[in-house]
């Protein structure tokens, strides 16, 4: 749709016309702000926990477990040096052999969600799929935070 608008504007005499081809979905997937009626309601990216602990592939499971337990977490997002999500460790994985590297202990390729997804939609999905938590990422896979089902439910109850 936007290419046609761009071309038409040019034929109408506009000299400098740009087409943001990736559009609104790309903007919102990056967690950037919007205006409008939906912008007043919190979405997945707004309440995802930004302080979720992360770990690298080569760390030892035992080291990571000790580190995150002190912080009160039972989930860890595995990322590379660009914060792209590679895996997830929940309580079950954290209870594994402490000597094994994270890349063997982790649950690889977890489902991720974009920051603009509504809380209503997230709660349904998380309940239906029995997910206590879910990573929220930008469209290029970078970690925004970890969304906890209990946080979503609490936010929905405020309404």
């Amino acid at each position: 749709m936007s290419p046609r608008a761009a071309w038409r504007l040019e034929t109408l005499g506009f000299g400098e016309v740009y087409d943001y081809i990736d559009g609104k979905v790309d903007w919102m997937a990056a967690g950037l702000p919007t205006e409008g009626t939906n912008a007043q309601h919190p979405r997945a990216g707004d309440i995802a926990r930004k302080d979720v602990p992360t770990a690298g592939l080569q760390e030892k499971l035992g080291d990571v477990k000790a580190r995150v337990e002190v912080q009160g977490w039972d989930a860890v997002v595995v990322v590379n040096d660009r914060r792209v999500v590679l895996g997830l460790l929940r309580a079950k994985e954290l209870a594994g052999d402490p000597e094994q590297p994270i890349e063997r202990a982790m649950r690889p390729g977890p489902s991720t969600f974009r920051p603009y997804v509504s809380l209503h939609e997230m709660l349904h999905f998380m309940v239906d799929h029995k997910l206590d938590s879910a990573p929220v990422t930008t469209s290029d896979g970078r970690l925004v935070g970890l969304l906890l089902q209990k946080d979503v439910a609490a936010e929905m109850e405020k309404k």
Partner: protein, 67 residues
């Protein structure tokens, strides 16, 4: 010829004074639009484009995605 740009360039061009235009139908614009974007649905681009936009300034148009 209109030039395709990506997110980071959108921010730069807007910061330098470009007009940002969403061409989707009204309900979609009302729910969410980029900060500062004005609304000109594609079907009204001929009339409202001329009426609402300044030809001397850059214009960025966008819709939902690449489709």
């Amino acid at each position: 010829m209109p030039r395709e740009i990506r997110r980071e360039e959108v921010r730069k061009v807007v910061a330098s004074g470009a007009q940002l235009v969403e061409v989707l139908p009204s309900p979609e614009y009302e729910e969410d639009h980029l900060p500062g974007a004005i609304h000109i649905p594609l079907r009204k681009i001929d009339s409202q484009g001329v009426e609402l936009l300044d030809r001397k300034r850059a214009v960025i148009v966008y819709c939902w995605d690449t489709a």
